[in-house]
């Protein structure tokens, strides 16, 4: 099963990405206002979903770690945060590329854009914190605390920026978009979800291996340090 997933997951993810790409670039019609520029949406929106999924997984894993001291949760939190920062950075770069021809600016202080950028920095801080703490138990606890503090910031951050200033494409409901558009978007969303799972599985394994190495040699002062996984 593990082996099959190792081989199958990247293949399926790439196939989905190719199908979504072909649908989005050739089959889907051009937008009546934005022309072809809008097509970046087929990777921009899935990147946003994947990033949101990633930080949510980190948040839940952090809660689980704090409540159960589960080391697998710690590894999952780390893996998902790192992949989330990757998708978040991708999201912002793609959004910026889209904003330039559409709004005429590379950057705009729209609530979603700003929230995504700030969240990206908050989770970059989370990753930095992990690097700067050597004791595995402290690192796990503190990182979990940081992830929770950053995640609960999202709603209030979003509202505050929205009040502060707003200008963004309103999300289209299914009815106002062409069905091929929806279909292409869904293919890509699935592709990104699979990419996410693939990346997290790889990164999770690295995290577990590092944990095993660290926990195998506990500090002499506390021999009973190794917690049950």
């Amino acid at each position: 099963m593990q082996k099959a997933l190792d081989v199958g997951l990247p293949i399926v993810a790439i196939v989905f990405l190719v199908v979504g790409g072909v649908l989005g670039l050739t089959v889907a019609p051009a937008d009546k206002d934005m022309g072809d520029v809008y097509r970046i949406m087929y990777v921009h929106v899935p990147a946003a979903w994947a990033a949101l999924l990633a930080v949510t997984v980190t948040f839940v894993a952090s809660l689980v770690y704090l409540l159960k001291n589960n080391w697998h949760a710690d590894a999952l939190g780390e893996a998902s945060a790192e992949v989330g920062v990757f998708f978040g950075a991708l999201l912002i770069v793609l959004g910026s590329i889209w904003a330039r021809p559409t709004w005429g600016v590379w950057w705009d202080w729209d609530p979603r854009l700003t929230t995504a950028a700030i969240l990206l920095f908050a989770f970059a801080g989370y990753l930095a914190l992990r690097r700067f703490v050597d004791d595995p138990e402290r690192r796990a606890t503190w990182a979990a605390v940081a992830a929770i503090v950053a995640y609960v910031d999202v709603p209030i951050l979003w509202f505050s920026v929205r009040w502060w200033r707003t200008l963004h494409q309103i999300q289209n409901t299914g009815e106002s978009t062409h069905s091929v558009m929806t279909k292409s978007l869904l293919w890509n969303a699935l592709a990104f979800a699979l990419l996410y799972v693939w990346f997290v599985r790889l990164r999770y394994r690295v995290a577990l291996a590092r944990q095993a190495e660290e926990l195998a040699e506990p500090p002499e002062t506390e021999p009973a340090h190794t917690p049950a996984p």
Partner: protein
């Protein structure tokens, strides 16, 4: 076990003990700051220097300085807060003072509340000194009344101190603590910064549209969220 929600005498005693311990921690922190006044003075001069630097960076044009006075004021407070927050835990880690507190034992919640409130008092004090300087330097004026200005100042400083205290406790025991604290703290403070700056701007420039209450509410919600959350999480941060 008693019915939930009904405080037993035992609960009440514990509540009183928590408050007493909190008050002791506040007293200890403020006394330490008072005895080491050189530190407070240095932070104050740093903050004033920041205010001056903003004028140099933006240029001497009075109109834009007056318009952005609130933003500069809060950035000066925010930048100085990183110094004073870091300092408040550096002295705890010297000679294992924090460990000593935990061993007495002092409830972790009392340590958090005590240190966060002490930091709030220090920051508010700093703000009280900075506002007249900002008013003088940038040509702003307090048009919404003094009580409102103080309320906004206290709420903004409280929003910095709760997560600030939690993160300072973490950063101070990590490597690269000087860069880690702002890196962790600044992103989550964005809503508080936006709220505090907007509210202060309205306090300075007048509030014809009646928006001051909305921004104050935003600050109140931010404070409620983070004081509660950090209170709950702090115990895990300082546990051994």
């Amino acid at each position: 076990m008693t019915a939930p929600g009904e405080p037993t005498p035992c609960d009440r005693a514990r509540g009183v003990a928590l408050l007493t311990a909190t008050a002791s921690v506040i007293r200890k922190d403020l006394l330490l700051e008072w005895r080491g006044r050189a530190r407070i003075n240095a932070t104050l001069f740093f903050a004033i220097m920041t205010l001056l630097l903003f004028s140099f960076a933006v240029g001497p044009e009075t109109k834009s300085l007056a318009q952005n006075a609130a933003g500069y004021l809060w950035l000066a407070i925010l930048l100085s807060s990183v110094l004073s927050l870091g300092e408040s835990f550096r002295i705890e880690n010297e000679n294992g003072a924090l460990e000593g507190l935990r061993l007495i034992p002092v409830d972790a919640r009392a340590i958090f509340l005590g240190k966060a409130i002490a930091n709030l008092v220090l920051l508010t004090g700093l703000g009280v000194l900075l506002i007249p300087i900002a008013v003088a330097l940038y040509g702003a004026e307090i048009s919404a009344g003094f009580p409102r200005a103080v309320l906004v100042l206290v709420l903004g400083c409280a929003a910095i101190s709760a997560p600030g205290t939690l993160y300072a406790a973490i950063a101070n025991q990590a490597r690269a603590r000087d860069v880690l604290l702002p890196l962790l703290l600044f992103p989550i403070l964005v809503p508080a910064l936006v709220g505090a700056v907007k509210a202060t701007q309205l306090v300075f420039q007048g509030d014809p549209m009646g928006q001051l209450d909305s921004w104050t509410t935003l600050l109140v919600i931010f404070n409620l969220m983070y004081w509660l959350l950090c209170l709950v999480l702090f115990g895990r941060v300082v546990e051994e």
